[in-house]
């Protein structure tokens, strides 16, 4: 490669960040892929070194692809790193470069473009997926497909995921959502709710429960209806430009509301929202607007906690454990609020699992594209869940929730253990369940 293009490559790939790594190896014990794959190539230290080697022209980009694609992006290494090496940025840069270099066959590229640029940003599409899943479940097609094994022919193991999707609400319920839900009693704060795309299509009721919890904790809740996908999957797949377009649209929509918080309930989306300022840092026009958006963006658990928690929850005896979302823990740095909320529910016995902060293998669409690797990571996780004897695994991100459900299925624990979103867990314990 010529010096000129090497220079360009170094700019894009985050070469300068790699110098923060002193190769001490402190991140190795934190990395789930190093644990399951057992080689330096799939460790944070190894990946950083490979990015550096590629940027110096000592490694072909094609040889970098596998180590980068097999990384979960969970960022546990960032938390572990004593020199605060920005692995997340190195990873993002590498993905972007690899994506540009991509020699994906034309049809596959087309499909990817379509999914990222048409489906995710469109609430219509998302609704359609929700309706479709609902119809699929209601019409008995699901049963039929499962019985005949037809669903196993679906590409990329999607069938396995389809089995753990929650029951869907009808299109009628979906269309009855309002734009404003007032606080119960006197309002302490006002919030705008970021409903997410997948979250809103497949976890519609969790979203409605989120609104109820916020109302209950004393918040007026607005739902900007022109909001769009957060762009996390785009950014993590090296589609930086699309991510920027989505970010701008969201900022614009939420600016219309004069609220104290912009609340989200999906760890992964939240992590993207709080990085809008980084994403738009080179954009004169948008930088300031992004910073004020980020300042208001918070996870539901932090907001509930800051509003003083939920008054008068109903007592129910239950042993629970918590699988934190990586993006909530390592990017948003929210670790205590979800646990404190769960513990605050009367009758709850909270058992922390070993290595709690290790990724479950869900990681965006990792478990779809790297199914085998994801399942190995999940098996390690389930081995840590079992000794807690918990009947309930609480999660804070839709991806983790589905993954944990798969874990329960893989272990044949359906009768004994359930996985639920923190929001739904708390909602079950609200005194008068005024569902919306």
């Amino acid at each position: 490669m010529s010096t000129q293009s090497l220079k360009e490559l170094q700019e894009k790939i985050g070469y300068s960040y790699t110098f923060d790594c002193v190769q001490c190896g402190y991140c190795l014990p934190a990395c789930p892929t190093y644990e399951t794959m057992g080689k330096e190539t799939h460790s944070p230290r190894g990946r950083i070194n490979l990015v550096k080697m590629a940027a110096e022209g000592k490694l072909d980009l094609s040889d970098l692809r596998d180590p980068i694609e097999k990384c979960l992006g969970c960022q546990a290494c960032v938390t572990a790193c004593p020199t605060n090496t920005q692995y997340g940025k190195i990873l993002e840069g590498a993905k972007e470069v690899l994506n540009e270099e991509s020699t994906l066959p034309f049809p596959k590229k087309k499909v990817q473009d379509f999914i990222f640029n048409r489906v995710f940003p469109s609430s219509k599409w998302m609704d359609t997926i929700g309706h479709f899943t609902w119809a699929y479940q209601k019409t008995g097609l699901q049963k039929f497909a499962r019985k005949t094994g037809l669903s196993n022919f679906a590409p990329l193991n999607l069938a396995k995921f389809e089995q753990v999707l929650p029951n869907q609400v009808s299109p009628k319920v979906r269309s009855s959502r309002k734009g404003f839900y007032p606080a119960v009693g006197k309002a302490k704060a006002s919030v705008a709710f970021f409903k997410g795309c997948i979250m809103d299509s497949t976890f519609y009721s969790t979203n409605q429960n989120t609104i109820s919890l916020l109302n209950h904790a004393g918040a007026d809740v607005y739902i900007p209806d022109e909001q769009t996908c957060c762009g996390a999957l785009h950014a993590h797949s090296g589609e930086g430009d699309s991510a920027k377009v989505l970010a701008k649209r969201n900022i614009e929509q939420f600016e219309k509301y004069d609220v104290d918080y912009v609340v989200n309930n999906a760890g992964g989306c939240g992590a993207q929202l709080v990085e809008y300022d980084h994403l738009l840092k080179n954009d004169e026009q948008w930088r300031e607007r992004a910073i004020s958006f980020v300042r208001k963006s918070k996870d539901i658990s932090s907001v509930l906690f800051e509003l003083g928690g939920l008054p008068s929850l109903v007592e129910k005896q239950e042993v629970v454990t918590y699988q934190p979302s990586c993006h909530l823990t390592h990017v948003q740095k929210v670790t205590e609020a979800p646990k404190l909320l769960a513990k605050s529910a009367p009758g709850v016995t909270f058992k922390e699992m070993d290595d709690e902060q290790k990724c479950c293998g869900s990681a965006g669409i990792y478990n779809i594209v790297n199914y085998k690797e994801a399942m190995e990571i999940l098996d390690v996780k389930m081995a840590k869940v079992k000794p807690t004897h918990a009947a309930t695994i609480i999660t804070t991100n839709p991806g983790c929730l589905l993954q944990m459900k798969m874990g329960i299925q893989r272990e044949g624990l359906e009768e004994k253990v359930r996985a639920v979103h923190l929001v739904d867990f708390l909602f079950e314990r609200l005194p008068a369940q005024n569902s919306i």
Partner: protein
């Protein structure tokens, strides 16, 4: 085209997942925690001693270099594949970790992470004292090969003081055992201790038997604050000569304190010239008295402040911050040259003075912390390897650090080993014949020079450190 030895290697390691040859894998095993990047021709991950023996037989026959490797946290270049050949990764050999409560010993596979041994021992009420700061990452094999130490070296010694016996694969691929399970053992040459600290140049360690001791009844830590670096050095000698034997006594200078506080605040005083961290352990009554005594001595010598931490949580916090010093200072500048010159304890104040002269003379970012109680200082220079002019100054500064240490009666390495980094200075410390005797030992064990070649011994004419390209 594969070379003959590579074809033969495939017959030994049949599991393709444990025999790595693609470019990304090879580059991933070409570095450690020090300096330099190399490319081996193969990486193998054996799971038992028989595989290791077969690999060594093959290597010896074909004259292919083999570099044992743990988790590559080495700070002196020990596992670097400087002449191509095979990196032998021991991390998958971790199936054995048994505690023998009757004999107070632990028997472990080489790839076991050091802190796991400590945890297992504590579960049975025992104590495994050596605690390198890297203990939660490094392997016991690497610890034995480097004779690693840590803060507790002062009272409890280093890894080597706990190794009773070893199982080793020789460079010719024979499996031997040295030492045993007994505390006393004077049968013949002490090969066990020869292998300890041999940095992988005499054989591959495939099992280690370690001595454990009863867990001390109680423990207390002191944080002593000084406005003057040299005074802190005097306090160290003061305490030791008073008859108190702390289990650890660490020094951290102002630059390091600031780096830690910037990185992850631990409540260290940022305006202090230096702090001493002192740990006392033993019978509760005894340490209570020692605590008062240590407090008095430090204040007399000029300590500004003495804080005590006796509950578990507070102590843990103090010491966790200490473990962060090494990585935290790396934030100062991207390239970190970490030294571990060790001097007689009485010479600590003098060494401090020399180090600050070196800092001035070469105008380099030189910071100091270390296991002051045993004279083991870690002068670190922070620089940027892309700045060739500065690197030249760093090279000279490092050479002068080594020379100063030797001149005051100290040694090149207290715990990080010689590796590639300090080889050029060996003759200065050992003399021509001294080094020659070591060379003869190496040649007797490994006549074909296949076992981690290029380490410890300087190449012909190599007399100075070279960090520039």
């Amino acid at each position: 085209m594969n070379k003959q030895w590579q074809i033969e290697l495939e017959k030994i390691i049949k599991d393709k997942k444990r025999l790595l040859s693609n470019p990304a894998d090879l580059l991933s095993y070409g570095f450690d925690g020090s300096f330099g990047q190399y490319q081996p021709e193969r990486v193998v991950q054996p799971i038992n001693r028989e595989e290791v023996a077969d690999i060594m037989k093959l290597a010896n026959t074909f004259g292919v270099p083999v570099y044992p490797r743990g988790q590559a946290t080495c700070l002196s270049g020990g596992p670097l594949p400087v002449r191509g050949g095979i990196v032998l990764d021991t991390c998958k050999m971790k199936d054995k970790l048994t505690i023998d409560s009757e004999n107070l010993t632990a028997t472990v596979s080489p790839g076991v992470i050091t802190s796991k041994i400590k945890e297992a021992a504590e579960k049975e009420g025992f104590f495994y004292p050596p605690d390198p700061s890297s203990a939660h990452v490094s392997t016991i094999g690497g610890n034995v090969a480097e004779n690693s130490g840590g803060p507790r070296g002062l009272k409890y010694g280093v890894t080597g003081n706990y190794v009773l016996g070893l199982e080793v694969v020789t460079p010719q691929g024979e499996i031997i055992r040295t030492g045993g399970q007994t505390i006393k053992n004077v049968t013949g040459y002490n090969l066990t201790q020869l292998l300890v600290g041999s940095e992988g140049t005499l054989g591959v360690i495939t099992e280690v038997t370690l001595r454990l001791i009863p867990k001390p009844k109680s423990r207390v830590s002191l944080l002593v604050v000084f406005d003057d670096l040299v005074a802190s050095g005097k306090a160290i000698s003061g305490i030791l000569s008073s008859g108190i034997m702390p289990s650890a006594m660490e020094i951290i200078d102002q630059h390091c304190i600031n780096a830690v506080e910037r990185h992850k605040p631990a409540g260290y005083p940022v305006d202090a010239a230096a702090i001493l961290l002192i740990e006392l352990d033993g019978h509760p009554k005894a340490i209570e008295e020692e605590m008062v005594e240590a407090d008095r001595i430090c204040r007399e010598i000029g300590a500004r402040e003495v804080q005590t931490a006796s509950d578990e949580e507070d102590q843990k916090k103090l010491w966790e911050a200490r473990k962060l010093v090494s990585p935290a200072i790396a934030k100062i500048k991207p390239t970190k040259i970490s030294e571990d010159a060790t001097v007689p304890r009485s010479k600590i104040p003098e060494m401090f003075e020399r180090l600050s002269e070196i800092r001035e003379k070469y105008n380099v970012e030189l910071v100091v912390f270390g296991h002051a109680g045993d004279g083991n200082l870690h002068p670190n220079i922070l620089t940027d390897k892309r700045d060739q002019e500065e690197m030249k100054r760093v090279e000279m500064a490092v050479s002068e650090i080594f020379e100063s240490a030797i001149e005051v009666g100290g040694t090149l390495s207290g715990e990080h080993g010689i590796g590639t980094m300090k080889a050029p200075f060996m003759e200065k410390e050992l003399g021509k014949i001294g080094l020659e005797m070591m060379r003869r030992v190496k040649e007797a064990w490994d006549p074909n020079d296949v076992m981690n070649p290029g380490k410890i011994f300087p190449q012909d004419g190599q007399t100075k450190l070279v960090l520039t390209e």
